[in-house]
Each structure stands twice: as C-alpha cells, then as structure tokens.
Symmetry: none
C-alpha cells in the first residue's frame, strides 16, 4: 500500500485506490490511517482523528459552511475485491457504496483553494452496522461543532443526482418460545423454530406501502435479515429469534413504525433493537437551492436510509448526492460508472469553488 | 476410593459407588480401572482391557451366549454429584443413565456361578458423544468376537421392562437460496429466510406415523433442531439452512427414511448430515423369548436410539432392559428407583442362572 494517496489524481483512480484497501465495518483503521496521512500531507486543512473517523475543515470565516460526509466502511467482502476497471465501469466492493463518494470528497479537499463556503469533510466508520456503532454518534458526542453547517451533502450513491429526504429504518427481534424435549419424544416438547413459521408467513404476504410526499414516492419494505435457533441436534428447541428490518416512509415516526410492527407480529414477543428516523425532503434553504441549480435536473426521493436523517435531526438541511446506482449497493456486482464520479466532482467543484 | 468395589453387595450400594467415581465421556479411566480390578479380584471370568473398555466372559461351552452391555460414561456434571439416597430413590449423575444398569451387570458377573448360557459383559466408553468415539466401535474393530452372541441385553434405562428394537435417527439440512439486495430496496432481492417459511409449514402440519411391529408401537417424529440465516442487518439474505431431526421406525431403512424426507421437503435442497439405522424388535428368537418370560409383562417399543441398533446390525437380536426412567436421562434431576435396580438384577439372575 502506498504511504499516501495521490489526492490530485483522477477521482476514478482515487476510488480504485480506496476500494483496494478493504474496510469492512469495524476494520477501517488501515483506510482511516491512509486518509488521515493523505489529508495532512496534501492539504492545508485542519485535520482531526477520532477513533476511525477522520475530520478536516477550512477556517476561512465564510458566512456559511457546507459539510460533506462519507462513510469509510463496507458490507462484508463477497468475492468482489480488488477493484477492476471494465470500460466505463469500475467494479468492486465499495465502488458504489461509497468509496466513489469518498474519492470525490478527497479530490475536492485537495483541489478547492478558494471555496465559496467554509468546508468540513467528515469521513466516518461503521455506517453499515447497528446505528449505535455509527461513527457520527461519536463525533456528535465528542466534537459536535464539526457537524454544524448550513447544508450537509452526504455523498452516498444517488446516480449523481440530488436525492432528497430518506426513509426510516427499524430492526426488531420476533421471538418465539417453546419447551425443550428429546427429539425421540418430540411430542413432549414445543418446538420454537416451528413457531417462527407463522411469522415468516406474515412476511411473505405483507403488502408494503408506497407513500407520496411532495411528489417523491417512498416505497416501504419488511424483510427478515436473520434467523437463529437450536439447542443440540437431538433436542426440541425452546427458543428461536427472527430479526426483521423495516424501512418506512418519513411520514411515520419511529414510534408509529414500532406500533405498526407490533400489529403485524401480534402474538409474538417483539423487541426493537435498533432504529433511525427518516427525514422529510428539505430543499427550501438557500444553500440547498444553490446546489440544486449547480446539479441541474429535478431532485427525487431517497428510498434507503442514509445519514442525511442524522443531519436533519441536528437541524442541518441535508441531501444525498454521490456517484453510483444505490440499487447496486450491497450486491456482489457493485460497480460505479466513471462518468458519475467525474460528474459529481465537477458539480460540487462548481458549487463550492470561486474558480 | 476403595481399591475394589464389593460386587457381592446390594446392587443399589454398588450403583452409588459407581456414581461416586465421576466418568464424563473421555474421562472414564479411573472408573474403568476400578471395574477391571474388581472383576479380576472377585470373579473367575476372562477379563480383557481395551482402552477404557472392560470386557469379561465365561467360556463354558454352552450352546448359546448372551452379551450384557453398559456404557461407563455420563453426560457432563450438572451440580448432581455425589449420589444421594432419598427414600426409595437414588439421586445423582449416572444413577439412571446408566450406572444402575452397570451395577446390575457387575452383580450378575460376581454372583451367577452356573449360567444357562455363556455370558459376555461389555463395559464401554464414550456412548454420550459423537458416534465415531463410541467404545463399541473399537471393540468391533479390534475384538469383534467379543460382540458375537445369540442375544444382547443393553442395560440402558427402560423402567425395568423390556424395550425392544429402537428407532433410527437422521439429520438433514433443508437449504433455501435467494438473491442478496439492500433491504431499502428489498424487492430487488429474493429472501432465503422467507423461503424457509414453507418448510416450517410442512413441519407444522406433518403427521408422524405410529408403526406397529410385533405388537410394539413406534412413534415417529420430525423436528427442526436448528435454523440459521442472515448476512447483515440491512441485507436481504441469500441463504438459510434449517436442520431437521427425523426419528423413524425400524421398518424403514436409512435409505427409505431419506427418500421420505426428500418427498416431504420437495423443492428444497436436502443434504443428509448424520444418521443411524434403527433396529427391529427381534423378539422372535428363542433366547429373547426366554428373557420375555423371565421378565413377565409385555415388551414395548424403544423410541430413542440406543446401541441395540449396533448389535442388530451385527446380526445379534438385542433389547434394552435396565433400571430407571429414560425420560430422566440427561436431566439434572436424574435418579433411579432402588426397586428397579433390584428387580432388573433379579429378572436377569432368574433368566441366566441355573441356581
């Protein structure tokens, strides 16, 4: 691995270099080290390290500040490393979600010499796992002033167009209980795994809502993401746990979403393990309008949950704008069009630089 | 610890003495030493030691031979040692499974002077763990003539009545495949955990057979014993595995049981991970009939799998006959009624002794 990245390089090359340093959630130290070293070596920014988060900013006394945010981690490797350029597409884990966006941020950090607004760059860890581990929590707790801004741009994949708002997400455990017995006399027990069958049936027949807000359509979802149960190979199991992930439109609060899930899984013990509120689309502020003009086109609804909701909760208007198709995130075939990477870098450079 | 056990003592005292020498699977050496020394000191039997197995036999040239078999090991200690006599019940680890049976065997070895049939006593190790470690395997491999007989009596707990044959057991994995996707766009994927729902529905509605063989009713079973699936909290999972344990009556071979399971779970990938054949009751032979008469009452079907199936596979008719309730085996509350121990010793003495 190079001692530092060349931040002035083509952002596509930079994306490939970031992808080729594996950084599955919880294991981002090597990549965070590299990003930190590169920013310190090649920019005049104030740089701070916090765990596996790397923060950098200008302090020019501009009237407004824009924060650009990107997570450094990826979902688990799925036989899709290292990166591979094939024509106009860069393939590999994290190309789309979201090292293309990280590369755009690093390129801007190294090349904008006279920004219109003060700039804060936030690279953080553990976005792809339980919300409680998300690096933004620690920043909010220990360095809250680093998240203050007039606009936040979260460079998650959005096909290089502005996506507004985001859906909420909630994880619950649906728990079944039974009574242990030897499987040679199974009728003496109650099988908790069998009891999960009905919950799976409800998932199969569930009809998710399609919710229209300000012309943006949010499409909800309800998916089992884990199932676990069993004592020994000859024992009727007395416990089984099904973990379900619900994605809900921003017209519902987390409390309303929880109530809905308790109705869907009535009869089971339901425990909420993790949730994040959604964010309503919020494009009315001046800085957001400037960005919309720089990007051109019409903003659309964001379906996935992203950290725009965290910024929205802090009172910072926030949008998604990044290279790559979010539908490819977390798939083995994940890739990013090189033109998306270059376009995002150009749009943001035009928006942020006096030129 | 005494240098030798008093084999001529009340078999209940002998049971307590055996229980008070812990012998969890893999750790039977001390107890095997004690049994070997006691047999050599107090009987005229030919005694052979093989690992932690102790073998003893008469060589009187009788026309028939009966083998009595008992394992020396127990499941792990569960705060249930030493033994404790409370009224008519002897409590403690191994009282039921199966040092009560071992004590009956040792008592017979020391007190039958003129047996009707030649006798072989087999005390063996590692019955409570993976089949591959079972001491009977080593005996079958290295001293196969020691397992030859006209009837085998496995002194596992059977409430002091004859339990004939045993059911087979088979474990399979029922595997479902899907396609990964981000849960924010679940409709792009195929959820493998949801796909397990139909297999659970088949388990819920499964009607196990009750099979009557020679007047013994075998009650089959089909139970999920493990379920596993999930990639990450925000990923539609592409794989889920349900492990199912089938207990089948001895009218079916393992091949027939597998065929049945493939029909039950048609549409799924089914992989057999582990099986043991059952054993037919085999009560038609002369020696078995003599034992049935000595015991009185009506033999019943053995539902759990025991080593009678190993003898059956060697062509030796085999039954379970031992003190204690098999439902208590492997429980912390394990105990044996002292009357069961004495009754088993008396029935077998009547069956085996001319005296």
């Amino acid at each position: 691995m190079a001692d530092t990245l060349n931040l002035a390089a083509d952002p596509v090359e930079l994306t490939a270099a970031l992808v080729d340093v594996p950084s599955v959630s919880g294991d981002e130290a090597e990549l965070a080290d590299l990003v930190e070293r590169s920013l310190r070596a090649q920019t005049a920014l104030e740089v701070v390290r916090l765990g596996n988060c790397v923060l950098a900013r200008t302090n020019l006394g501009r009237p407004k500040r824009v924060v650009l945010a990107g997570h450094l981690d990826t979902v688990p490797v799925n036989d899709n490393l290292p990166s591979r350029l094939d024509g106009d597409l860069l393939h590999g884990l994290g190309t789309c979600d979201m090292k293309g966006g990280d590369a755009v941020m690093l390129s801007l950090a190294a090349t904008i010499e006279d920004p219109v607004h003060d700039l804060t760059f936030v690279f953080y860890d553990c976005e792809e796992v339980e919300a409680v581990r998300n690096g933004l929590n620690r920043i909010e707790r220990e360095l809250p002033e680093w998240l203050k801004a007039d606009l936040a741009i979260v460079c998650e994949p959005s096909n290089a167009i502005i996506e507004a708002g985001c859906q909420g997400t909630m994880r619950i455990e649906v728990r079944a209980k039974g009574v242990r017995a030897h499987t040679a006399r199974g009728w003496m027990g109650v099988n908790a795994i069998h009891a999960i069958g009905d919950a799976l049936r409800r998932l199969e027949t569930y009809e998710p809502r399609h919710v229209d807000i300000d012309g943006c359509v949010y499409r909800e979802g309800l998916q089992a993401v884990k199932v676990e149960g069993g004592v020994a190979g000859n024992v009727v199991p007395d416990a089984a746990v099904l973990t379900v992930n619900h994605r809900f439109a921003p017209d519902r609060s987390p409390e309303q979403a929880e109530q809905h899930l308790r109705e869907v899984f009535a009869g089971y013990e339901v425990v909420v393990t993790d949730f994040s509120a959604g964010a309503l689309p919020g494009l009315h502020t001046e800085a957001a309008q400037e960005l919309v003009r720089a990007a051109g086109g019409t903003p659309v609804a964001k379906l996935g949950w992203t950290d725009v909701a965290r910024f929205a909760a802090l009172g910072v208007p926030a949008v998604n704008f990044g290279p790559g198709d979010p539908l490819l995130a977390h798939t083995q075939q994940e890739h990013v069009p090189v033109n998306d990477v270059r376009r995002c870098r150009e749009v943001l450079w035009r928006f942020l630089s006096r030129g």
